[in-house]
């Protein structure tokens, strides 16, 4: 599960672009993501035991496939750098105003790279533990009842469709992540059963994000949410915890969010390194991780300010839409004409033949 970095600022974006109908826009974005998820999983299922680098080469030809794989690798790096920069900006603003942005970026990338080098299983285990941690903010949601007003985001369906679409486009940044399945889907024990967990994962992310949007709208009011850059943190500040020994608990929420960002970056780095290793026919992507960290560091410093970060992220969403709704369907269509190979099956059959010969 990749909980998007954009979750923190999403209520504000939705309130600004669509008002109370931001909630409708958000669910529209969820629907788009789910459609993308289905396409991705269908493609992965057609090529069990094969990574994107393998089957794109097969479907597009070696030259086009190679170019496509390089572009996909670059896309993954862009996602990681966008997430890292976005995270660093908010952390600097809220927690470490005197710390250079570069120091936050380097520390986060270095920490994430230590785990990303160790392969998929440790990443999965760490993310599973973090998944339990993500429920901690949900535990404080009942405390919002005192300041929550459902009337703040009603009535719905007041904005026109174009506005809702525009708002949904901005929401997509919080829901990116399913593209990693193109690469790591090949590790699934049973690809035929991949659809349900993938859809569930999107559902959980959507659920989490929806809770925060509703809480922000209902607690802070829609106009107030629109004015704030990171309304979730502002909202947490007002949590009335009885007998609290600490004055502000928003910083602990920041810790949970840091954990979420860390998992996103780890998965992104692993996906990029693993994919590049497959592209260059190497056994492991471990050696790629540190050089990629250097690349991500410089890429994350490309936007000059927060405004440029926002533009950078919008382009990321455009690239994601092109990947998921142009390239993935294209590969799917080509795969209908070119019978998929099954290297796993070939391996199995050759093993069986060998076994027979031995016996």
């Amino acid at each position: 599960m990749i909980l998007g970095i954009g979750t923190i600022g999403l209520p504000s974006v939705l309130a600004r672009t669509a008002g109370p109908d931001g909630i409708v826009a958000f669910w529209m974005a969820v629907a788009i993501t789910l459609a993308g998820t289905i396409l991705v999983i269908l493609l992965v299922q057609r090529f069990p035991n094969q990574g994107l680098a393998d089957y794109s080469n097969y479907l597009l030809g070696s030259i086009l496939g190679f170019v496509f794989n390089l572009v996909f690798g670059l896309f993954m790096l862009t996602v990681v750098s966008g997430v890292t920069r976005g995270y660093a900006e908010i952390t600097k603003f809220f927690l470490l105003p005197r710390t250079p942005l570069e120091a936050i970026i380097i520390s986060m990338l270095f920490s994430a790279s230590l785990l990303a080098r160790n392969g998929l299983e440790p990443i999965a285990r760490a993310c599973q533990i973090l998944f339990y941690v993500f429920f901690v903010p949900v535990l404080v949601t009942p405390t919002f009842i005192a300041i929550f007003d459902i009337g703040e985001f009603l009535p719905l369906f007041q904005a026109d469709l174009a506005t809702i679409f525009k708002s949904a486009f901005h929401s997509l940044y919080s829901l990116l992540g399913i593209e990693v399945m193109l690469v790591i889907g090949s590790h699934a024990e049973n690809p035929k059963r991949l659809m349900r967990p993938a859809v569930t994962a999107i559902g959980i992310v959507a659920g989490f994000t929806f809770v925060f949007i509703v809480l922000a709208f209902g607690s802070l009011s829609v106009p107030q949410t629109a004015k704030l850059t990171d309304p979730i943190f502002e909202m947490i500040k007002y949590v009335p915890l009885p007998f609290s020994i600490l004055e502000r608990i928003d910083i602990f929420f920041n810790a949970v969010w840091t954990a979420s960002t860390y998992s996103t970056i780890v998965i992104g780095l692993y996906t990029a390194s693993h994919h590049l290793a497959e592209t260059f026919k190497l056994n492991s992507g471990k050696g790629f991780v540190f050089p990629l960290v250097v690349a991500v560091y410089f890429m994350s410093l490309l936007p000059k300010n927060e405004m440029e970060v926002s533009i950078y992220n919008n382009w990321l969403v455009v690239a994601w839409l092109v990947l998921i709704f142009v390239f993935v369907p294209l590969l799917l269509v080509i795969s209908l004409f070119r019978k998929p190979q099954d290297p796993g099956g070939q391996r199995r059959s050759s093993k069986q033949k060998q076994k027979k010969a031995n016996s």
Partner: protein, 507 residues
């Protein structure tokens, strides 16, 4: 190399083999059996490794006195006669391999050589002095057995066998150490332990190539999955009940001669947070203590770092009244909070280490002097703040709650790492530090088993014995992570809730 037929050649050989070591005893005698000519014999052994009483009672007396009174003619050769009719009290074996005899003598056996025979009898009469069985020093309990392992391996095996009268309990003895030839025993229950696990343990032990194994710690470090980690991936314990519990869970135990600590593999972070007492007291009490243990361990782990973060980076998080009081107490302190915490934490480690090295009563005195007097003096001298003393005291007390000594090492070292990370980036650094440690724990495995099991990968059934322990009636299955061949440890017929009460009611 084979033994010679002439006894003086063999004696000469062993004297050379052991470089005429002063503790080597060669006791020569003449066997006088009626109807047979007098024949020369010799016992070769190391002084101090054998029991003199046993040698007299089981070997010399029977050979020199009982054999001479034997009236009937002897059909067999003299060695067979001695073996079958005279030396009936002692466990012995016959060999003509000089290396095997050498090894047996080094292991505390006695070699009986007889002139004219190129074979020797090695007789087990070991009897060296060893510590008696005492209560555990590092894993004490209030409720539960008190005995713990000793240095000698045989009493340790007895402590296990006495608890587990199962014919499937297997002890495999091997010798490890090029020069030490130390006894190492692999213990497992044949129809429970996963065969692949036993094979893997055997394979890794065979690869150990050291001069001598002085403690099980040598073996632990040489066969563990991740030798560079501060966290141990093989559990050590000096409690026989803990080993027996591990064996019945499908784990494999390794016992090493001269070490009172047995090893258990595989292990997880979760299993090392369990105390044997958790299973001896009733489950509500066990859960109460377990929850406190997990919370206290976390408190001890992060409190110094949290102090640094709140004082140096995020004072706005502290309630105003407390913040004012903290600021007043820190007024005039020469060091930043990180240095202050570092001084105190290092002092704590110093006291702990000094307390272990010093004899018992002095160790306690050092604790009191260090903790109270030096602590107060440091506060009065304006080196540290009173709140820092509270933080260190909390850390120390909470830190002792971790039941496994080796795991607490890993946690203590990681605490310093967290403090350094926090000194750079405040709470962000603390979070990042915790994530790095989590990432590291996620990469650890113990004989292929995830160190974070049963939380990751999630195993709902094993969660019944993790932070919370379910009642014994619910723990019908062995832990899944051991991949035990026989997963059931309680039959389904065990009474369900209220069933015992109903039976009593009917009576």
């Amino acid at each position: 190399m084979k033994l010679a037929k002439r006894i003086h050649h063999n004696i000469q050989f062993f004297q050379q083999q052991f470089n005429n070591s002063t503790d080597l005893v060669v006791r020569q005698f003449t066997i006088n059996i009626p109807g047979i000519r007098e024949i020369a014999g010799a016992l070769i052994f190391f002084d101090g490794l054998i029991s003199n009483q046993l040698i007299t009672d089981s070997i010399l007396d029977p050979i020199l006195h009982e054999a001479s009174q034997f009236q009937q003619p002897i059909d067999a050769d003299i060695l067979t006669f001695l073996k079958e009719s005279v030396l009936t009290n002692a466990e012995h074996s016959e060999t003509n391999d000089a290396d095997k005899v050498t090894l047996a003598v080094m292991m505390g056996e006695v070699a009986l050589l007889i002139d004219g025979y190129n074979t020797a009898l090695t007789i087990a009469v070991q009897g060296w002095a060893h510590r008696s069985i005492q209560s555990s020093q590092s894993e004490g309990v209030i409720r539960g057995p008190r005995d713990s392992f000793v240095e000698a391996i045989n009493p340790n095996l007895m402590l296990i066998r006495r608890r587990l009268r199962d014919p499937s309990l297997v002890f495999e003895r091997i010798q490890i150490g090029n020069r030490g030839q130390n006894d190492v025993v692999i213990a497992y229950i044949k129809d429970i332990a996963n065969e692949d696990l036993v094979l893997e343990v055997r394979k890794r032990l065979k690869k150990v190539d050291l001069d001598v194994i002085l403690d099980s710690g040598y073996i632990e470090q040489l066969i563990e999955d991740d030798w560079w980690s501060p966290f141990n991936t093989i559990q050590d314990t000096e409690r026989p009940d803990e080993v027996v519990a591990g064996l019945t869970e499908g784990r494999v135990a390794i016992l090493v001669d001269n070490s009172p600590f047995a090893l258990l593999a595989p292990t997880t972070f979760n299993t090392q947070m369990m105390s044997p007492e958790d299973y001896y007291v009733r489950w509500p009490a066990a859960n109460f203590v377990r929850l406190i243990r997990f919370i206290a361990s976390f408190v001890s782990f992060v409190t110094p770092s949290l102090y640094i973060a709140l004082i140096s980076f995020h004072p706005e998080m502290i309630p105003t009244q407390l913040a004012l009081s903290v600021a007043a107490s820190r007024e005039g302190l020469p060091f930043p909070s990180f240095i202050e915490a570092l001084i105190m934490e290092l002092s704590l480690e110093l006291l702990r280490e000094a307390g272990i090295r010093l004899p018992g009563p002095i160790g306690q005195t050092i604790g009191i002097v260090g903790g109270l007097i030096v602590g107060e003096a440091a506060v009065n001298a304006g080196i540290v703040s009173p709140i820092m003393v509270i933080v260190v005291a909390m850390t120390a007390i909470a830190g002792f709650i971790v039941p496994t000594y080796t795991l607490s090492f890993g946690l203590r070292m990681s605490r310093f790492f967290l403090m350094i990370a926090t000194s750079f980036f405040g709470l962000y650094g603390l979070t990042l530090g915790l994530l790095i440690i989590l990432g590291h724990l996620a990469t650890l495995t113990s004989f292929g088993v995830s160190y974070l099991s049963p939380w990751a990968p999630l195993n709902l059934k094993d969660l019944r014995d993790s932070v919370i322990r379910f009642p014994w009636h619910s723990l019908k299955q062995r832990p899944r992570y051991t991949l035990a061949d026989d997963p059931t440890r309680q039959s389904q017929d065990t009474p369900k809730r209220g069933q015992n009460k109903q039976k009593r009611g009917k009576q």
